[in-house]
């Protein structure tokens, strides 16, 4: 039997919805299943409505789905908001018999059983137990996960949670459920992580040692991961007074020789724009993560979007080379983060990692290898590497545009850097020929930087209709292609992760075989379509655009494809 079902758990903020989601995802991973869990929440700490939607499958998956097999409702609102998505044979597992439920309800007294287990706070664990019982999972699986999750805490906490899970489990153990299946133990298909964690791990594997940040959803989770993980490895996290300080601090630390990063969302990135330019002109390697959310201004703080593409490529006044990466999945985010640090240092140019709330907050199974490199190449010149360290010029003209980079106070070479236009030695200059040469020097890097960029991933690239997307939308686009092909529609896709410098030749070659190109993007003005045309001359037939703040689902594409057939 093929397993491919979606479980949605909904309730108020503060009811521990996310914990239920985490538990389920971990149990599924232990059982050798594939999972994707999206977290949907409002910008509030208590109340409102939030939900976790977990797709569970025995084959590789890359996107969430709309149809729900099991709706776990911790409140009435969840029933009202999600029951229309409950599929044929699906059920609602809820704390009481809501009379406006239009789908079959299995009522389990979550609160009462939680109190019996030792506290109302464990109601979410009761629900997790019930949920896994309906799906046919052995109770031991959940017990193991609970033990590793709560084991380190007060033993009574673990005891209460196991009891709660057991009561929930037993309450529905005998109930028939259409989507119940046989669970086996392992083998695990990969590590479970959200986009934020993948980036944090990538940063550590790139030997980043300093992060400065100002809290902003959905980027803060990256820094939280770094903070937790670096309790025992040398790493400094500093909460700056604002994003301007954050970016300038990492510039200072990188100037002094430590790989450094910051993470923010669009609003914070706006404040960092001048600092980005400073890194550009003073040729300092820094990595900035912009986890996109809908804007402008405060926009929708806890929602997702891909509206900052052209902004990050163009942010800061005037011109300077930079890298932009938009990872398509968590394994890639890990590797792209390593690449961002390495290439940023190799070319002495800032690098931006462009993600989004959906990617940062959703949990995926990393099916690619997540292996830390055995060594980290550094692109730094010591006195011994320099012909004449006492006459060192930080911005020496070279053919490649990359000047040997010495660090301050590490030898005889004296490092002079300026955000003003400068001479080779770092001193201010208004000389017109020097200005032209310095701009040319910085721009000279672009050719080699472009060579470093990968082209799009191709999937049925010679199809009639070629969907083109970038970043975290890649998963839904690829699954949409599969669904369309099942319906005998000749669709394929190209998805990009290396955005800037734009791999124009590779993009041009990849689009050559398709009859019609359509971009799929989470913004309202088809930014990637415009970029593609600007960089390659390719004119797409149109775009499928979504900008309601919610993640892209394959169904969103399928519903609009008729326009292009």
């Amino acid at each position: 039997m093929t397993v491919d079902i979606t479980v949605t758990i909904g309730g108020e903020a503060g009811q521990g919805i996310q914990t239920v989601g985490d538990l389920l995802a971990q149990v599924c991973r232990k059982a050798g299943l594939y999972v994707i869990a999206i977290n949907d929440f409002e910008s509030r700490i208590r109340g409102g409505h939030s939900f976790v939607q977990i797709r569970i499958s025995d084959h590789e998956i890359s996107s969430p789905r709309y149809e729900i097999a099991l709706l776990v409702a911790l409140d009435r609102q969840t029933v009202l908001l999600h029951q229309d998505k409950v599929s044929e044979g699906g059920v609602i597992l809820s704390g009481e018999l809501f009379e406006d439920a239009e789908k079959p309800v299995i009522a389990v007294k979550f609160d009462k059983l939680a109190e019996e287990a030792g506290g109302k706070i464990t109601a979410n664990t009761v629900a997790a137990g019930g949920c896994l019982a309906l799906l046919g999972a052995p109770f031991e699986f959940l017990k193991d996960i609970l033990s590793s999750r709560f084991g380190a805490k007060d033993p009574s906490v673990l005891e209460k949670n196991i009891k709660a899970a057991e009561l929930g489990y037993q309450a529905v153990a005998e109930t028939e459920f259409k989507w119940s299946f046989t669970w086996e133990k392992g083998p695990e298909k990969g590590l479970l992580m959200n986009g934020s964690k993948a980036i944090a791990l990538g940063a550590l594997a790139a030997d980043c040692r300093f992060a400065s940040f100002y809290p902003m959803s959905p980027a803060t989770e990256i820094i939280r991961n770094l903070t937790v993980m670096t309790e025992h490895i040398p790493f400094v996290v500093e909460q700056a007074e604002d994003e301007i300080a954050a970016v300038n601090m990492i510039i200072g630390a990188a100037f002094a020789g430590v790989r450094s990063m910051t993470a923010t969302s669009g609003g914070g990135f706006c404040l960092m724009a001048e600092g980005l330019g400073l890194a550009g002109i003073s040729e300092i390697p820094i990595v900035i993560v912009n986890a996109q959310r809908p804007g402008p201004a405060t926009g929708l703080p806890t929602r997702t979007a891909q509206g900052d593409l052209l902004f990050v490529i163009n942010a800061a006044q005037d011109e300077f080379p930079r890298f932009v990466f938009a990872p398509r999945n968590v394994s890639e985010a890990f590797h792209d983060t390593i690449r961002a640090f390495e290439l940023s240092e190799k070319y002495q140019a800032p690098a931006i990692i462009l993600t989004d709330q959906f990617f940062n907050d959703s949990v995926f199974l990393a099916t690619g290898q997540v292996i830390a490199p055995s060594s980290v190449p550094r692109f730094i010149a010591a006195d011994a590497d320099l012909d004449d360290p006492e006459n060192y010029h930080r911005f020496a003209f070279t053919e490649s545009g990359v000047s040997p980079r010495a660090l301050p106070c590490r030898g005889k070479a004296i490092v002079k850097s300026s955000g003003n236009e400068h001479l080779e030695d770092g001193h201010i200059s208004e000389d017109k020929s020097n200005r032209t040469r310095m701009v040319d020097k910085r721009n000279a890097k672009i050719e080699a930087m472009t060579e470093e960029m990968s082209g799009p991933e191709e999937y049925f690239e010679d199809a009639e209709i070629l969907l083109i997307g970038w970043g975290s939308s890649a998963g839904a686009i690829k699954e949409a292609v599969d669904l369309l092909r099942d319906k005998d529609i000749d669709a394929g896709c190209l998805t990009f992760s290396d955005i800037w410098p734009f791999p124009a030749e590779k993009a041009f070659a990849a689009t050559g075989k398709a009859k019609k190109c359509v971009t799929v993007e989470l913004n309202s003005t088809a930014q990637f379509k415009r970029l593609l045309r600007q960089q390659t001359g390719i004119n797409c037939a149109g775009s499928i655009l979504k900008y309601d703040g919610r993640p892209l689902f394959p169904q969103d594409i399928i519903e609009e494809i008729d326009r292009f057939l």
Binding site: A205, M249, I371, I414
Partner: protein, 284 residues
Amino acid sequence: MLTKEDFFCDFENKWCPGCGNFQILDAMKEAFAEINLSPEKLLIVSGIGQAGKTPHFFKCNFFHGLHGRALPVATGAKIANHDLTVVVSTGDGDCYGEGGNHFISAIRRNIDITLLVHNNKVYGLTKGQASPTSDIGFHTKMQPHGVIAESFNPLTAALAFGAGFVARGFSGDKAHLNQLIQKAIAHKGFSMIDIMQPCVSFNSVNTHAWYKKRAYDPADEDHDTGDIDAATALSRKWGDRIPIGVFYQKESSSYTDRIHHLDAGPLIDFAYEKNRVQQLIDNG
């Protein structure tokens, strides 16, 4: 033994003749020479303004960054390598205006750097607009009816924010300023010297002679630099007599002292350890 000539740099100086910056530059070089801080061991970070150009007239490592942002750059550099001696050269507009938020936070962090604020109570580089420290009523081309806002008192503010080394210098008393700079660098933790200086082009009120007549060192009048209340009272003195010298000094652990990772040495000196990173990855 170093001399100020060891910091000589032949880069053309574009300050106005008679600018107080020249004396500050000299005092800095003399102080660094006297404490035997060699050019390759010194990092000066600066922002934008005439004071921001100071490192260009030095032989030493420098980072001349954005307007108002010298303190965060200096903070980052110090975190990366706390063996560096980091001096920030900035002005009243750069530090107290554009960079005001960073001024507060650098003090709160007690990051072990030395802040030298060239305070001429006016914007020089942008040609004579009011600065945060301009006196109320001060006339400029942009404030033809006089400055409307009250003047910012950096020393009172620094004391209120909890700075551990608060001093005022005067460009016209180079030997005194030299001594202050040496004390500030020796201080463990954040140290600041607000340096009164004339602006020969745009401030005809607070001239060299004006300051010279008023400046006195409270150390000569038994000021207790460990007394925060006395220091605060001193910081409010302005008029016929203006105190210059150390107002307050109290050492406490600095930012980098408070980070346990850095007990073993500067952040830059650790080796990459693949196994520890892989362990974190595999721990899930």
